[in-house]
Protein backbone atom coordinates (compact mmCIF):
# COMPACT_ATOMS: atom_id res chain seq x y z
CA UNK A 1 0.00 0.00 0.00
CA UNK A 2 2.72 2.32 0.98
CA UNK A 3 4.92 1.21 -1.89
CA UNK A 4 2.23 2.14 -4.38
CA UNK A 5 1.83 5.48 -2.83
CA UNK A 6 5.52 6.14 -2.99
CA UNK A 7 5.72 5.13 -6.59
CA UNK A 8 2.82 7.41 -7.48
CA UNK A 9 4.45 10.24 -5.67
CA UNK A 10 7.74 9.69 -7.43
CA UNK A 11 5.99 9.63 -10.76
CA UNK A 12 4.17 12.80 -10.03
CA UNK A 13 7.31 14.58 -8.92
CA UNK A 14 9.61 13.39 -11.61
CA UNK A 15 11.55 16.03 -13.51
CA UNK A 16 9.99 17.07 -16.79
CA UNK A 17 11.42 19.12 -19.62
CA UNK A 18 9.87 22.45 -20.20
CA UNK A 19 7.48 22.56 -23.14
CA UNK A 20 8.76 24.12 -26.34
CA UNK A 21 8.74 27.94 -26.36
CA UNK A 22 8.37 28.18 -22.61
CA UNK A 23 11.56 30.12 -22.20
CA UNK A 24 10.58 32.66 -24.85
CA UNK A 25 7.14 33.12 -23.42
CA UNK A 26 8.53 33.55 -19.96
CA UNK A 27 11.08 36.11 -21.09
CA UNK A 28 8.43 37.99 -22.98
CA UNK A 29 6.22 38.03 -19.97
CA UNK A 30 8.94 39.56 -17.79
CA UNK A 31 8.89 43.39 -17.46
CA UNK A 32 11.55 45.70 -18.90
CA UNK A 33 14.87 46.05 -17.11
CA UNK A 34 14.33 47.76 -13.78
CA UNK A 35 16.59 50.32 -12.24
CA UNK A 36 18.02 49.34 -8.95
CA UNK A 37 16.73 51.65 -6.29
CA UNK A 38 19.54 53.26 -4.35
CA UNK A 39 19.74 52.36 -0.71
CA UNK A 40 18.85 55.38 1.36
CA UNK A 41 21.61 56.26 3.85
CA UNK A 42 20.49 57.96 7.04
CA UNK A 43 21.33 61.66 6.82
CA UNK A 44 21.08 63.70 10.03
CA UNK A 45 18.09 65.91 9.65
CA UNK A 46 17.76 69.25 11.45
CA UNK A 47 14.59 68.02 13.02
CA UNK A 48 16.39 65.07 14.51
CA UNK A 49 19.12 67.36 15.90
CA UNK A 50 16.44 69.49 17.46
CA UNK A 51 14.80 66.40 18.87
CA UNK A 52 18.09 65.20 20.24
CA UNK A 53 19.38 68.44 21.78
CA UNK A 54 16.22 70.55 21.98
CA UNK A 55 14.93 69.30 25.32
CA UNK A 56 18.22 69.65 27.23
CA UNK A 57 18.80 73.09 25.66
CA UNK A 58 15.33 74.23 26.62
CA UNK A 59 15.86 72.84 30.08
CA UNK A 60 19.19 74.66 30.40
CA UNK A 61 17.66 77.90 29.07
CA UNK A 62 14.77 77.58 31.53
CA UNK A 63 17.26 76.98 34.32
CA UNK A 64 19.29 80.07 33.37
CA UNK A 65 16.16 82.20 33.05
CA UNK A 66 14.84 80.98 36.39
CA UNK A 67 18.21 81.68 38.01
CA UNK A 68 18.32 85.21 36.58
CA UNK A 69 14.73 85.78 37.62
CA UNK A 70 15.45 84.52 41.12
CA UNK A 71 18.50 86.76 41.34
CA UNK A 72 16.45 89.76 40.21
CA UNK A 73 13.67 89.00 42.70
CA UNK A 74 16.25 88.61 45.51
CA UNK A 75 17.86 91.92 44.51
CA UNK A 76 14.50 93.72 44.48
CA UNK A 77 13.63 92.17 47.86
CA UNK A 78 17.01 93.20 49.31
CA UNK A 79 16.60 96.77 48.02
CA UNK A 80 13.07 96.97 49.42
CA UNK A 81 14.17 95.61 52.80
CA UNK A 82 17.09 98.05 52.89
CA UNK A 83 14.80 100.93 51.99
CA UNK A 84 12.33 99.98 54.72
CA UNK A 85 15.16 99.66 57.25
CA UNK A 86 16.60 103.01 56.14
CA UNK A 87 13.27 104.78 56.43
CA UNK A 88 12.67 103.23 59.85
CA UNK A 89 16.18 104.26 60.95
CA UNK A 90 15.68 107.84 59.74
CA UNK A 91 12.35 108.00 61.58
CA UNK A 92 14.05 106.68 64.73
CA UNK A 93 16.84 109.21 64.30
CA UNK A 94 14.40 112.10 64.09
CA UNK A 95 12.48 110.69 67.07
CA UNK A 96 15.72 110.38 69.08
CA UNK A 97 16.72 113.96 68.27
CA UNK A 98 13.24 115.14 69.16
CA UNK A 99 13.47 113.48 72.59
CA UNK A 100 17.01 114.87 73.02
CA UNK A 101 15.88 118.39 72.20
CA UNK A 102 12.91 118.08 74.56
CA UNK A 103 15.19 117.08 77.41
CA UNK A 104 17.73 119.80 76.60
CA UNK A 105 14.85 122.26 76.56
CA UNK A 106 13.72 120.94 79.93
CA UNK A 107 17.24 121.44 81.27
CA UNK A 108 17.28 124.93 79.82
CA UNK A 109 13.92 125.83 81.35
CA UNK A 110 14.95 124.42 84.73
CA UNK A 111 18.27 126.27 84.61
CA UNK A 112 16.61 129.51 83.52
CA UNK A 113 13.92 129.42 86.19
CA UNK A 114 14.52 131.94 89.01
CA UNK A 115 15.57 130.44 92.32
CA UNK A 116 12.80 130.03 94.87
CA UNK A 117 12.39 133.15 97.07
CA UNK A 118 14.04 132.85 100.47
CA UNK A 119 11.54 133.36 103.25
CA UNK A 120 12.33 136.49 105.16
CA UNK A 121 12.91 136.07 108.86
CA UNK A 122 10.40 137.54 111.16
CA UNK A 123 12.33 140.47 112.49
CA UNK A 124 9.64 141.75 114.73
Amino acid sequence: MSENFENELRRALRPLDAPAGFTERLMAALPEKREIAPVATPVPQPRRVAQRFGVPAAFAAALVVSMLLGQHVAEVHRERTEQQAGLAASRELMEALKVTSQKLDLAYQAAKAPPPPVEEENRT
Binding site: A85, E92, L93, A96, V99, T100, K103, L104, Q109, A110
Partner: protein, 192 residues
Protein backbone atom coordinates in the same frame (compact mmCIF):
# COMPACT_ATOMS: atom_id res chain seq x y z
CA UNK B 1 51.49 79.04 82.64
CA UNK B 2 50.92 80.59 79.24
CA UNK B 3 47.31 79.46 79.36
CA UNK B 4 46.87 81.19 82.72
CA UNK B 5 48.34 84.41 81.35
CA UNK B 6 46.05 84.23 78.30
CA UNK B 7 43.01 83.60 80.51
CA UNK B 8 43.95 86.54 82.73
CA UNK B 9 44.35 88.76 79.65
CA UNK B 10 40.92 87.73 78.35
CA UNK B 11 39.36 88.31 81.77
CA UNK B 12 40.92 91.77 81.96
CA UNK B 13 39.80 92.61 78.43
CA UNK B 14 36.23 91.53 79.13
CA UNK B 15 36.14 92.99 82.61
CA UNK B 16 36.62 96.58 81.49
CA UNK B 17 34.15 98.38 79.28
CA UNK B 18 31.72 96.10 77.55
CA UNK B 19 33.26 94.18 74.71
CA UNK B 20 33.00 96.09 71.42
CA UNK B 21 31.67 99.20 73.09
CA UNK B 22 32.73 102.51 71.62
CA UNK B 23 34.24 105.38 73.55
CA UNK B 24 31.42 107.48 74.91
CA UNK B 25 28.91 104.66 74.65
CA UNK B 26 27.01 103.87 77.81
CA UNK B 27 25.85 100.42 78.77
CA UNK B 28 22.14 101.14 78.69
CA UNK B 29 19.94 98.19 79.62
CA UNK B 30 16.80 97.33 77.70
CA UNK B 31 14.54 98.17 80.68
CA UNK B 32 12.07 95.47 79.66
CA UNK B 33 10.19 95.64 82.96
CA UNK B 34 9.95 99.43 82.74
CA UNK B 35 8.63 99.21 79.20
CA UNK B 36 5.87 96.91 80.42
CA UNK B 37 4.89 99.28 83.21
CA UNK B 38 5.12 102.45 81.10
CA UNK B 39 2.14 104.00 79.40
CA UNK B 40 4.40 105.35 76.64
CA UNK B 41 7.90 104.30 75.76
CA UNK B 42 10.52 105.27 73.23
CA UNK B 43 13.50 102.98 72.70
CA UNK B 44 15.91 103.96 69.96
CA UNK B 45 19.15 102.06 69.38
CA UNK B 46 21.00 103.23 66.31
CA UNK B 47 24.52 101.90 65.95
CA UNK B 48 26.90 103.33 63.36
CA UNK B 49 25.55 101.10 60.59
CA UNK B 50 21.89 101.91 61.20
CA UNK B 51 22.73 105.56 61.79
CA UNK B 52 24.52 105.74 58.45
CA UNK B 53 21.58 104.05 56.77
CA UNK B 54 19.11 106.41 58.45
CA UNK B 55 21.20 109.45 57.55
CA UNK B 56 21.32 108.41 53.91
CA UNK B 57 17.52 108.46 53.82
CA UNK B 58 17.25 112.01 55.15
CA UNK B 59 16.26 114.57 52.59
CA UNK B 60 18.60 117.41 51.75
CA UNK B 61 15.67 119.48 50.49
CA UNK B 62 14.23 119.74 53.99
CA UNK B 63 16.47 122.22 55.88
CA UNK B 64 15.81 120.49 59.22
CA UNK B 65 16.76 117.08 57.87
CA UNK B 66 19.71 118.54 55.98
CA UNK B 67 21.16 119.92 59.24
CA UNK B 68 20.64 116.59 60.99
CA UNK B 69 22.29 114.83 58.05
CA UNK B 70 25.35 117.06 58.46
CA UNK B 71 25.45 116.38 62.18
CA UNK B 72 24.98 112.63 62.06
CA UNK B 73 27.77 111.91 59.60
CA UNK B 74 30.30 112.24 62.43
CA UNK B 75 28.27 110.25 64.95
CA UNK B 76 28.67 106.56 65.74
CA UNK B 77 25.48 105.88 67.60
CA UNK B 78 22.37 107.28 69.21
CA UNK B 79 20.63 105.48 72.05
CA UNK B 80 17.46 106.77 73.67
CA UNK B 81 15.23 105.25 76.33
CA UNK B 82 12.25 107.26 77.41
CA UNK B 83 9.37 105.99 79.54
CA UNK B 84 6.22 107.76 80.64
CA UNK B 85 4.17 106.38 83.52
CA UNK B 86 0.68 106.92 84.86
CA UNK B 87 1.90 107.17 88.45
CA UNK B 88 4.57 109.25 90.12
CA UNK B 89 8.00 107.66 90.49
CA UNK B 90 6.93 104.28 89.19
CA UNK B 91 10.49 103.58 88.09
CA UNK B 92 13.21 102.34 90.44
CA UNK B 93 15.87 104.93 91.28
CA UNK B 94 18.49 102.19 91.00
CA UNK B 95 18.05 102.27 87.22
CA UNK B 96 18.88 105.99 87.20
CA UNK B 97 21.79 105.53 89.56
CA UNK B 98 23.27 102.75 87.43
CA UNK B 99 23.55 105.11 84.47
CA UNK B 100 24.68 108.01 86.65
CA UNK B 101 27.52 105.83 87.95
CA UNK B 102 28.74 105.26 84.41
CA UNK B 103 28.70 108.99 83.79
CA UNK B 104 30.87 109.61 86.83
CA UNK B 105 33.73 107.71 85.18
CA UNK B 106 36.87 109.68 84.29
CA UNK B 107 36.55 111.70 81.10
CA UNK B 108 32.88 112.51 81.56
CA UNK B 109 32.05 115.97 82.82
CA UNK B 110 28.70 117.41 83.73
CA UNK B 111 27.99 120.57 81.77
CA UNK B 112 24.42 121.15 82.90
CA UNK B 113 22.78 120.28 86.18
CA UNK B 114 19.22 121.45 86.30
CA UNK B 115 16.98 120.67 89.21
CA UNK B 116 13.47 121.92 89.81
CA UNK B 117 12.19 121.05 93.25
CA UNK B 118 8.79 122.48 92.45
CA UNK B 119 8.21 120.19 89.50
CA UNK B 120 10.46 117.41 90.72
CA UNK B 121 12.51 117.60 87.56
CA UNK B 122 16.15 116.66 87.46
CA UNK B 123 18.12 116.95 84.23
CA UNK B 124 21.83 116.35 83.93
CA UNK B 125 23.83 116.76 80.74
CA UNK B 126 27.24 115.12 80.51
CA UNK B 127 29.95 115.32 77.87
CA UNK B 128 32.89 113.00 77.36
CA UNK B 129 35.83 115.14 76.31
CA UNK B 130 38.88 113.69 74.61
CA UNK B 131 41.53 116.18 73.44
CA UNK B 132 38.99 118.99 73.62
CA UNK B 133 36.67 117.02 71.39
CA UNK B 134 33.30 115.88 72.59
CA UNK B 135 33.21 112.11 71.99
CA UNK B 136 29.98 111.40 73.80
CA UNK B 137 26.91 113.10 75.17
CA UNK B 138 24.74 111.75 77.95
CA UNK B 139 21.47 113.11 79.25
CA UNK B 140 19.60 111.81 82.26
CA UNK B 141 16.22 113.37 82.78
CA UNK B 142 14.09 112.17 85.62
CA UNK B 143 10.68 113.59 86.22
CA UNK B 144 7.94 112.25 88.51
CA UNK B 145 6.26 110.43 85.64
CA UNK B 146 8.98 110.32 83.07
CA UNK B 147 12.43 108.85 82.87
CA UNK B 148 14.70 109.51 79.90
CA UNK B 149 18.24 108.54 79.05
CA UNK B 150 19.97 109.84 75.92
CA UNK B 151 23.40 108.76 74.78
CA UNK B 152 24.94 110.20 71.62
CA UNK B 153 28.22 108.58 70.64
CA UNK B 154 30.83 109.94 68.28
CA UNK B 155 32.67 113.08 67.42
CA UNK B 156 29.99 115.55 68.41
CA UNK B 157 30.54 118.89 66.82
CA UNK B 158 29.23 121.33 69.39
CA UNK B 159 29.06 124.05 66.76
CA UNK B 160 26.75 121.86 64.72
CA UNK B 161 24.71 121.18 67.85
CA UNK B 162 24.46 124.95 68.15
CA UNK B 163 23.25 125.09 64.56
CA UNK B 164 20.31 122.90 65.56
CA UNK B 165 19.23 125.63 67.92
CA UNK B 166 15.68 126.58 67.20
CA UNK B 167 15.13 123.43 65.19
CA UNK B 168 13.71 120.57 67.25
CA UNK B 169 13.42 123.17 70.01
CA UNK B 170 17.08 122.77 70.98
CA UNK B 171 17.81 125.72 73.27
CA UNK B 172 21.04 127.61 73.59
CA UNK B 173 22.67 125.85 76.51
CA UNK B 174 25.66 128.11 76.48
CA UNK B 175 27.97 125.29 75.49
CA UNK B 176 31.42 126.75 75.04
CA UNK B 177 33.18 125.42 71.98
CA UNK B 178 36.81 124.87 72.94
CA UNK B 179 39.04 126.79 70.61
CA UNK B 180 42.61 125.79 69.96
CA UNK B 181 45.20 128.29 71.18
CA UNK B 182 47.03 130.01 68.30
CA UNK B 183 50.61 128.84 67.80
CA UNK B 184 53.15 130.99 69.64
CA UNK B 185 54.52 133.85 67.54
CA UNK B 186 58.18 133.53 66.57
CA UNK B 187 60.47 135.73 68.67
CA UNK B 188 61.27 139.05 66.98
CA UNK B 189 64.67 139.20 65.39
CA UNK B 190 67.09 141.38 67.20
CA UNK B 191 68.31 144.23 65.05
CA UNK B 192 71.94 144.99 65.37
Amino acid sequence: MKVHIALCAIALACGGPAFGQLKGQLDIPQFATLAKKASESVAVSLDSKLLGLGCSFLSTDDPEQADVKKLCTSLSGIYVRSYTFDQDFAYPQSDVEGIRRQLSAPGWSRIVEAKSNKEGTNVDVFVLLDDDKAMGLGIIASEPREFTIVNIVGNIDLEQLHSLEGKFGVPNLGIEVPKKAPPPAPPPKKSR
